[in-house]
Amino acid sequence: MNRFAQLLDRLAYEPGRNNKLRLITGYFREVGDPDRGYALAALTGALSFKHAKPGLIRDLIAARTDPVLFGLSYDYVGDLSETVALMWPKGVVNDGQSFLGYPPPPPSPARGEGVQRDAGRRESDTSNNKSEAVVSETVTVVDVSSRDAGTASTAPSPLTGEGQGGGCPGGDDSHHLRPRNHNHPPPPTLTDVVTTLRTLGKTELPGQLARWLDELDETGRWALLKLVTGALRIGVSARLAKTAAAALGDKDPHEIELIWPGLVPPYLDLFAWLEGRAEKPVNRDPAPFRPVMLAHAIEDSDFQSLDPADYVAEWKWDGIRVQAVAGRNDRGHITARLYSRTGEDITGSFPDLVPSLHLPGAIDGELLVVRDGRVQSFNVLQQRLNRKVVSPKLIKDFPIHLRAYDLLGDDENDLRELPFAERRQHLETFIKKLGDSRIDLSPTVPFDSWDALTAARADPASAGAGEDAEAVEGVMLKRRDAPYLPGRPKGQWWKWKRDPHIIDAVLMYAQRGHGKRSSYYSDYTFGVWTGGEGGDELVPVGKAYFGFTDEELLEIDRFVRRNTTEKFGPVRHVVHEPDKGLVLEVAFEGLQRSPRHKSGVAMRFPRISRLRWDKPPREADRLETLEKMLKAEVAEIEA
């Protein structure tokens, strides 16, 4: 557990994707089965056990620490799991009880050995009565005899207490290598924790947690508490964890994705294959994920070399791309699953769609919210994303819908080798056969020239999208003869997004970036003008940290350093007056009302599209412009 905890600890601080991969792959290489398998399960969210409630953790710490000290500590640290992990009393189980007025535990020559940090210390037999009361409760006590020397040994003790770093190669836990007091059981392995939690009764949980917390070090306790409360939040997606596993055997992560649904923790067969010790596990899942085909963004110059007759156009719907798969299990029953485009199983968030997937097949499509036959905007769909609990009310108010783009499989047949035009025929038949109002066909957009398509893209409402035009974010172009290929193959599919919204805003604050960018001011808060008490003033409307070139980053960084008015830690206030300051052209995809922002609006996907060195800040946009854009969108969510 401690080694897994070190991994989580390091991952939580590491901003770079590649470095995260290296850390995780390194862990898989170093740690044996089955611990690494459970680690992979933890990182991919594949562990299932009843989570502990924060109240339980609070009770545990309350029984062991002084409430005032806990309060002060919690205020300072700001995170319950972390506070408890850090202040959990070491080793001695009765430690906290003396706070509550129980008699202190009898002194034992062995006590504290395992947690002593310094060879120069030992239990004090100080003659002072007053201090004796104190000493009995603390575990380590300064050696009084060192007062006349200043020469006491400074060598670290071999009985070094809480291991904080390093770790031993080859295993998750190093207890067998460290001399220990026999009263201290070895810290649990990740496997111990996971397998015990699976079968543990509710009443046994507090006692078991307390025992583990006694045995682990600070980082181990932190990780354990994150694990049992179900809140890892270390910035690692399931996809990233699988990619790290794939790297162990130089495999394509897609291969893991394909067999993943048939695998169960601790994935012994997977690691055996990755290490070349066994054949690739066979996916026996009746509803497996298939790697998704993606499109390239089209540039104006690309059109010259493309023949309109080779392509079919469809609307690009502003929802989330999914794969809906149904298949028959061994007993002939239908199993249905919904996957994100990276292959994460998101069926649990959309139980209302499952009954509609009643025929074996694999649909590639867009998940949308459709109310009264009308497709809602992404803002509306967002209410249904990342939900752990899906209430009946949510299902009723935000009815989910699948708009089908493609058919990858039909019953037992793999259709991916067929040309797009043929797959489309199969799709039309399949959707008709399904006959379900929650699943429909994504209509094609008729066109005979690029000019005609340009017109359709500019005005989807009158080109067939009708009232759903608001939910269209551009057009897709698909070659009639393109097979369904994983990844982003060249020249097959193109996306032609509608133009983003653009505003001119003024740079107000700049913050240093992370990792490679830690010496650059690369995160920018920008604002627009609005009427204030003392005339016009800038109000922040968003934050962006990409969109610019490396060269532009250097220019902005230089500007920030030379025009700082105030510094607050990593944040700099940058001059922003009507005649002094930097105007940024900001592109974004949409707006949402947001009570969290002073301006009342939040942008979707904002990025810096141009630096307007030529424009004085006073000519930047006003908040009213954004509010006008907003009105149409807001009405929908509240409907």
Binding site: L72, S73, A119, V141, V142, Q164, G166, E218, S519, P570
Partner: protein
């Protein structure tokens, strides 16, 4: 005699009226007795300064020859009379030359411990416990969440990272007086024997440590080293420099920071630290409470840091305790910032 008649907090610092001196004064005074060389404790411009030879040397290095009117060096264990009191210096284990100052007047003994730690440190004399009636303790890490663990394990973490990312440079933020040298010594103790690189602001004080017989192995200045040659190396730099333009001379640097504050994630993240190393030159919560208990003092004065929690703890143990309102301490980092920018210029 009441303890507050011997030592009293004033705007200039802790004042000993019967002895006619201040301890670690933050403003220029006639006679100053100084615990250690960190700039928040050792300031220039006093009339006379009494401190250990190392502390005096460090002040000279930092402020120049004329940092005080006159100076007097005192050894650990040496006792001298100042006015109506006796003053004795004891090792504080904080940094090289750091001392606790025992002030005895009649039969009352007060120990002003300055900054101290009870953990082992190969670069300075170990902390010595001094029995006393009133113990003045710092409280930098005076919350039970601060438990520093073994510094050697943190260094292992750093070395593991260097091994995992051999193409990147590792930048370790560390206070240039004390922490940097301790980290280097710990690296050497862990068997790391390749050259270690230093930021310009680290050089003077680190060479001083070496001149006092502390073995730190081969050290090289970063300045003048090619970017590609810094791959896989470890560089010590003042904390403020690790997020500065200065870092652009390193290949894809990993930012580490050696400090007791690194125990708390929010603190580490705020500073953009990717590899927090919990290595502190201050006593942690267990060290503070164990030391307070072991001095046998019946009265505890708590200063700079998290006074509330430590005062509360003392009271639950039946000890008289009060926060001592002294200002101007605990900003080692601030003074480092100046150093760093000076060196950069």
């Amino acid at each position: 005699m009441r303890p507050q008649d011997i030592l009293l907090p004033t705007a200039a610092g802790l004042c000993c009226k019967p002895g006619g001196f201040h301890i670690d004064p933050v403003r220029p005074v006639e006679r100053a007795v100084i615990t250690h060389g960190h700039s928040d404790h050792a300031r220039a411009g006093h009339g006379a300064v009494l401190a250990t030879q190392e502390t005096l040397d460090m002040m000279r290095l930092r402020y120049g020859e004329n940092f005080a009117g006159t100076t007097q060096a005192i050894r650990y264990g040496e006792e001298i009379r100042l006015g109506d009191v006796k003053v004795k210096f004891h090792p504080a284990g904080h940094v090289l030359g750091s001392a606790q100052i025992a002030v005895t007047c009649k039969d009352t003994c007060i120990v002003a411990s300055g900054d101290y730690k009870d953990a082992p440190d190969p670069t300075c004399a170990p902390f010595e416990l001094v029995p006393c009636d009133v113990f003045i303790t710092e409280a930098t890490f005076g919350l039970p969440v601060f438990r520093h663990g073994d510094a050697a394990d943190e260094v292992k973490k750093l070395l593991a990272s260097v091994e995992l990312f051999p193409e990147r440079a590792h930048l370790v933020g560390a206070y240039s007086l004390g922490k940097a040298q301790r980290v280097i010594a710990l690296l050497r103790a862990a068997g790391y024997d390749t050259p270690i690189y230093l930021h310009g602001a680290m050089e003077t004080i680190t060479h001083y440590y070496q001149s006092r017989g502390i073995a730190l192995g081969e050290l090289r200045p970063v300045k003048g080293t090619k970017k590609t040659d810094l791959a896989g190396t470890i560089t010590l730099a003042p904390p403020s420099a690790t997020s500065d333009i200065w870092t652009r001379r390193f290949p894809d640097p990993v930012t580490a920071f050696a400090s007791g504050w690194m125990r708390v994630r929010a603190r580490a993240r705020q500073g953009g630290v990717e590899l927090p190393l919990v290595i502190s030159d201050h006593a942690d919560w267990d060290g503070l409470t164990a030391t307070i208990a072991a001095t046998g003092a019946g009265e505890i004065w708590v200063t700079h840091g998290q006074e509330d929690a430590l005062v509360h703890w003392c009271k639950t143990k039946g000890l008289a305790a009060q926060p001592l309102d002294l200002v101007g301490y605990g900003d080692e980092e601030e003074s480092e910032t100046q150093l760093a920018s000076e060196a950069e210029a």
